[in-house]
Subunit: 447 residues, 2 copies
């Protein structure tokens, strides 16, 4: 149902298949009205002969009544001179067009398919859209960079888009975003599988909160209650203790955080990994860094068309990364922020504005959009982080957790990142709802 | 941490690294006791000289204190003659062994690594297991087919295994099961991606039950409530309406069914797909059938070692399938069951015993463990199934659902299957808890 420009000669002008469908639908509507108002038609109208009768109209709902396989169905994008002279059914969108493929005398520059035309024989509407749609794809797809002041007046609000997500998702940019997102997952898994990681699946229904007690959703579980996992953290660690050595998992994680911001979702897809190491957690940091570098390169190499399509609607600057990736230590980051005039303490967590500023400072200084921040202060990390021996803390509070690893467990470390954030940051989009197909936030659980 | 037999000569006999670790741990314990009881030791004991001092013991907890990278770490399975004469650290499980690699004069047949031995220089315990473990891996790994009547007495119960899942997962069979399971997901995704399917992620938190109102978990959602998705059904269909043409998704699904059987879980991983078709839903059935056939062949070709390892503990019969797969129509299945003496109606759903019997009948008649049952009666299908035009029903009850597809949507169909069931059935295992890493059922949400 991708909108592709074709040249249906029976309409006399270049048109999208959707336009053709609309025309066909209108013709049928006219037919039906005629039938309905038969009593009041003049003799002239009644005597009109429809030379195309039986060759267009609204198709009976497809219910797989038979085995009619004698037709050749071809996607519009696959039309080419090799099909010249053949009768094919170009099913694009919601219309079936039975047509003869004819080579054009000269390439049709205004269309995606330039070398052939279709001589339409029949056109049938398989599924017609309502005539009044809650939003126009054309409006939803309008470039944010469009300089035409008239055009800028028609903007589709984020809420309207999300309320009518099925229509909104039909824009070329959205088609590209979610194809690229599929690529992010594929690359993440393929790169790690190649490094010897095993994919695991961790439970989402759990008996205790995994990232501290706050911000957890409660589930009614038969006569008792349970929680939704805020991360696969404890389970991926248990998989290491269970001898799997290197594991990754891609799956839903849940945060009952009442954050109504551009970058928070209550449900997102976590890309997580955990691995044993020999001597130093930098072995793990190297693996994570290399995984992301390889992923960024894979996107650049295999999703260039999608990135370009997104760029036609949104301002996308090429994502910059270094190989090997940049690794900064937390105190270096604090120094850079202080130099830029920010008042921030050595043991403080970074605020969102500070994080953003740091990103800009790093980009200016090191020419990269991706870097790793090492030696994060334990004070602002969750309880499962290994204390830095040069900066010890009281570990008695996490004794029960340590106890669960007394079955013999190698030293290990890992990381996790939200898939939607990877795509948002990679494409430079301004809202995480743009990279979640059906986003969930404190105020939205539909559609 | 896979248990591999090695030949640590410093111990004087063949032993697993775990055994070596235990010995080292005991030696250290003895050392510590000596230190603790210094006051009461005799002069003789105090004067003992430990010639190996500083070459064994319990390693200080690894906290990544430095960058000591001058050692070569080698997994036991990678030891070979190419390393002869080199000093390496064989880290297997929870011990570091610093050793010189020596070529054996003749292959050591009792070990996995046959051509080299290690002359141990140092042995350090990285992480020691408790001396009293809740179950012994040896017992948990014992073949079910073991004919030794003495051995049969020591069986580890399913509940004990699941209560101590981290230990249980260390058996060779479990290591193989979950590696094969990762293979099932990889094959499912790779096969569909190659066919042009796009991976999507559907929300787990939803506002309305997706498979009818029963058996759905309720979630407290801020000041309101929501449900956990029982399937990605409506969302994968909406992705089709949104122009994605062919989609698949792999993710958690939830069923609040109080079924305490060998094949029900309250949370499992769904392998789902949905695609538009041109004329007949058999196009989709063909795609699903081919996907599974390709998956079975992929498992056979690339996971033969894992299948064999599972077979060493459980009775595994080779999984049989046809290419193209067998497709039966529901009435044929009913006839086969009736011929076998089962009293079953034309419009009845199949009971679990009937399904099992049918499987055996099909295997006997057609020599396949995989078949598709077409023309399932609408009466026992969920509301989103397209009515068979030769067997119409009142569709006014699903009018609101049909309304949501009035934005122009191609005819489409799809399917879904539980990943854990695929693995259970493929390997012929008797309980779905064997194929879920951390299973969830009405009585279990831990570990």
């Amino acid at each position: 149902m991708v909108i592709t420009e074709t040249q249906p000669p029976m309409e006399g002008d270049a048109a999208t298949s959707k336009k053709a469908a609309k025309k066909a639908a209108k013709a049928v509507e006219k037919q039906q009205k005629k039938a309905e108002h038969k009593g009041s038609t003049t003799q002239n109208e009644a005597a009109e002969v429809d030379v195309a009768e039986g060759k267009y109209g609204v198709l009976k709902m497809i219910q797989s009544t038979g085995e009619h396989r004698d037709r050749v169905y071809v996607d519009v994008k696959d039309l080419g001179v090799s099909l010249e002279g053949k009768d094919v059914v170009a099913k694009e969108s919601i219309v079936d067009i039975l047509a003869t493929v004819v080579k054009t005398s000269s390439p049709v520059e205004s269309c995606t398919v330039k070398l052939v035309e279709l001589i339409g024989l029949q056109v049938w509407v398989v599924s017609s859209a309502k005539s009044k749609l809650p939003l126009q794809i054309e409006d939803a797809a309008r470039p944010e960079t469009d300089d035409d002041p008239e055009a800028l007046k028609i903007r589709v609000l984020q809420e309207t888009r999300l309320d009518n997500r099925v229509l909104d998702l039909r824009t070329p940019a959205n088609q590209a975003i979610f194809r690229l997102e599929a690529g992010v997952c594929k690359l993440f898994r393929d790169i790690l599988t190649k490094k010897g990681f095993v994919e695991i699946h961790t439970p989402k229904i759990i008996s205790a909160a995994s990232e501290g007690g706050a911000n957890v959703f409660t589930v009614s579980y038969f006569k008792s209650s349970a929680y939704l996992a805020q991360s696969p953290q404890l389970y991926k660690q248990m998989a290491i203790a269970a001898d799997f050595d290197k594991v990754f998992t891609v799956g839903a994680v849940f945060r009952a955080e009442d954050s109504n911001t551009h970058r928070h979702l209550t449900e997102f897809v976590g890309l997580d990994l955990e691995m044993s190491f020999k001597y130093h957690y930098h072995e793990v940091l190297d693996t994570i860094g290399q995984t992301f570098t390889d992923m960024f390169r894979g996107l650049q190499d295999h999703y260039a068309a999608e990135i370009a399509t997104v760029g036609q609607q949104f301002k996308v600057e090429p994502f910059k990364f270094l190989d090997p990736p940049l690794r900064l230590e937390f105190p270096q980051a604090i120094s850079m922020l202080k130099e830029a005039g920010v008042n921030v303490g050595e043991e403080d967590d970074l605020s969102t504005p500070d994080e953003k500023l740091l990103g800009r400072l790093v980009r200016a200084k090191y020419d990269t959009d991706f870097y790793m921040l090492d030696k994060y202060p334990l004070a602002v990390r969750p309880f499962y982080t290994m204390p830095d021996p040069n900066n010890p803390v009281n570990i008695s509070k996490i004794a029960a957790y340590i106890e669960s690893f007394r079955l013999g467990c190698p030293p290990h470390a890992g990381g996790g990142i939200g898939m939607e954030r990877v795509v948002m940051l990679y494409l430079g989009l301004d809202n995480i709802r743009k990279t979640s197909m059906f986003p969930r936030d404190p105020k939205r659980i539909t559609p």
